[in-house]
Structure formats: structure tokens, C-alpha cells
Amino acid sequence: MTEKRVLNCIVPPHILAKLLESSDAEIREAAMRTLLTTMRLQGEREVRATLLGRAAPAEGRRTVYDCRHSTFLPSAVLARSEDGASSGDDSVNRAFDGFGATRQFYLEIMGRNSIDDRGMRLDGYVHRGVDYNNAFWDGQEMVFGDGDGRIFSDFTGSLDVIGHELTHGVTEHTAGLEYHNQSGALNESMSDVMGCLVKQWTMRQTAEDADWLIGAEVFTPGFDGDALRSLKAPGTAYDNDTFGKDPQPDHMDGYLELPDTDEGDNGGVHLNSGIPNHAFYQAAVGIGGYAWEAAGHIWYESLRASTPTTDFQAFADTTVGKAGDLYGSSEQDAVRDAWDHVGISVSSGTARRRPPVSVPGGNGTTAEVARDMDQLLAQVERLRQDLHLPA
């Protein structure tokens, strides 16, 4: 009976926070051990989800439609649903599986329940138009083209592209970064970063081993180049007679001032994203190990703390602050060095000081409670180190 209680009963967060702050070392340690036991049994993120009162997985139900080469989405036909059989069409199955991998990544790694964190449905449309060389997120659904077969092939082919598009939805539901100039380049960069992480997590690749390419699989063998973009080496994804050289800068010195028009790519959102992209790569390699762990969490929490008009400098400041809040000085140094590497300097005075841990109350929004939980988990980690307990 006692054991069952340990397994099923989770101390409410506000009580836990008080216990962890107790002046009595024994009480602190008891609270700590309770939490660690539960975490080991269920996994930290699941504990977090439970604390937030969420149901387990099975949300973000997937549906894939076949446009049958029309550009008019309402005429598309159902091709595969969450509980339905797999399709005879590889594009349909790749979109479906890519949605699943991305959904699982956000749930398990980021503690996020689908795009809107409330189990939003994941709808995809494949075979849009004729020879359509693109994929996009329209605020409600993901749309994929087949490519022209000469340069581009099917856009469902790259898992990082699927993660990229769904992350546009996540950004829309969090910071809402405006899609132009620096905030737009950050929006693009966040999609590239999370797209890479979905793929690396699926393949269990370390930062060192990953290729850090976006869209390597959306090209035919007829394309002389590696991919659409590279986070490891922006500006080197391709260099050929047809398309010239990859124009992405990897440093503020190369920042491209383009007009804020369609023709100017809204101020170069797909180009200047190379700068924050490379900062993430540098941070991930600097910290080492799996990029979706410390570096990925720091970036995701910084996205959640950003606003529609956040620029490169403000985002850099936030990541350095979050690295200190959530991890420690070595991670913070790695993140600061990463931004320094791309020409954005974050002084130690600029980075936000760690705020005092507030006790989660009963009236906060889910987002507020989630933020409180992050701070609480960071506090737990520091306490764990104080007590020399195993991780």
C-alpha cells in the first residue's frame, strides 16, 4: 500500500516548492528523494506533464489529405487518419510519420502537447499543385509539394523539413515572432534548429555526429549541392552554376540588408537565419552530447520567453540568461561564446539574473505554471548537486 502511494501520489508543486525551501535539511532531502524517485520511475518530463494536469500522449491527432495536384485544399481527399491503416502512397506515410516524430519530440523532450500545447490536430496536405517546389505552414495545416523532379523532389522526404514547418506553428503559439527582418530570421532559425533536433533525436545522433543540414532529401540527384541550408557551415550548402553560392551569412559582418518585401524575402528571413542558426550549432557543440538536451531546452525556453519583435541581441541575451537559470556556468559560458562566434556579444551584466523562484499558485495560466516548473526543476537540480545525489 505504501509503495503504491509513492508510485501514484505526486506532491503538489506548491507544497514541494515549500519543502525544498525548508530550513530543515532533512525535510529538504526527503522532498528531494521523493521527487527523484518519482522522476526515475516516470521520467522527468512525464512528471512535469502530470504536475500540469495533462493527460498522457495520444493528442495532436494526425490526418493526411491528398491534394491530387490541385492548389485548392478543400478539394483534397482523406488519405490517412490517426487510427486508420497506412497508405499505399509513400508521401502520405512520410508526412504522417514525420508528424508523429515531431509530436513525440515536443512531448517527450520539451514537455509540449502538440503545436499549441493543447493537443492541436496535425493536418497535412501532400501532392499540392503541379511540380510545386515548396512546403509551408499556413497557420492551420502543413502543405507539401512533389517538386519538379528535375531539381527538387518530394518535400515530405526530409524529416527536418517537417519539423521545420510544424515549429512555425509552435513559434506562432509562443513568441509569435513577426515574419520579417531579425524577428523573422529568428522565426526561421527556430524552425531550422528544431527541425534538426527532431531528426537528431530520432536518429540518436550527438551534436558532433549530426550533419546539421536542412532539406538534404528534398533535392534530386541532379542538384549539385548538399541541402537548402547548413547550420554547421552556413553559406556552404550549395555552390553551382544554376543557383550560385548559398547566400547565408554565418556572422553579423555578413548580415544582409534586404527590402522587407516578398521579393526581398521579407528582409532576408531565410538568409540571415544563418547567423542564429550557427550560434545554436556552436552552443550545441560547445556544450557537447545531444543537442536536444541542454542547448535545445535553452533555445526552446528562450523562444517561450520572447515576443513578436525580439531581435538577435535580445534573443542572445535571453539564451544566456536561460542557460544560467536552467543549467550552470559552463553551459552559460558555452552559449555566450557561441553568440560571440557569430558577432553578437552578451556581456555578463546584460544576461538576465536568475529571478527568485516563485511558488506556483492555483490561479496561474498553464504557461505561467510551466515557467514556474522550469524554475523549480532548475532549483531541484542545484539542490541535487548540493546533496551529492545521483542524477
Binding site: S70, Y179, D265, V269, L271
Partner: protein
């Protein structure tokens, strides 16, 4: 009549930036193709762009087709989420004729 198509944006915006526009002079085409294109242009002209949302749509492409009939120029500007099916058909036909020509 001369038609010019400029495509921009999209996931592969970097590859499209600075690429030369697609230009088709209808007088150089077989008569049947030219007539069909002219019909598609008038259909595309008649369908207005759907109302754009206040937010820009990440990774959508945009298209500007300039129609030059020798006397006046008219630019039709549409995006993946605002274009009519007729406009999409015109873009598709321009691609096909340009790659076969």
C-alpha cells in the same frame, strides 16, 4: 503579349533570390499555345487575390506575373494562400512552356 514571372520566398527562398525571371513572348509561341495562355491570363486577371491574413504565412511563396501587351503593363501579385486556381494554372503553364521552349 509578353509575360514575366517572378517567384520568391518559400522554404528554398535562398535559391530563388536573384534568379532571373521567367519571360515568355507569346509571339514566339505556336498559335494554340499563345491563345491558351492569353485565355489563362484573362481568367487569372478576373479572379482577385483572396484576402491576405494579417500575419505573413511562413514559407509560402509569392508570384508576380507582369502582363505587357505592348501599350500597358499590369502586375498580378499573388501568394500560395491567396491565388485562385486559375492563377495557379497560369503559373504551371508558364513553367511548362518555358522548360519545353
Amino acid at each position: 503579349m509578353k509575360l514575366t514571372l517572378v517567384e520568391s520566398g518559400g522554404l528554398a527562398a535562398g535559391l530563388r533570390l536573384g534568379r532571373p525571371p521567367l519571360v515568355l513572348d507569346l509571339s514566339t509561341l505556336p498559335e494554340a499555345d499563345a491563345r491558351e495562355l492569353a485565355d489563362l491570363v484573362s481568367v487569372a486577371r478576373q479572379a482577385p487575390a483572396a484576402a491576405e491574413s494579417s500575419r505573413r504565412v511562413p514559407d509560402e511563396m509569392s508570384y508576380t506575373i507582369t502582363v505587357d501587351d505592348g501599350e500597358a503593363q499590369e502586375a498580378l501579385h499573388r501568394s500560395d494562400t491567396t491565388m485562385s486556381q486559375g492563377f495557379a494554372e497560369l503559373v504551371d503553364r508558364l513553367h511548362r512552356l518555358a522548360s519545353s521552349g
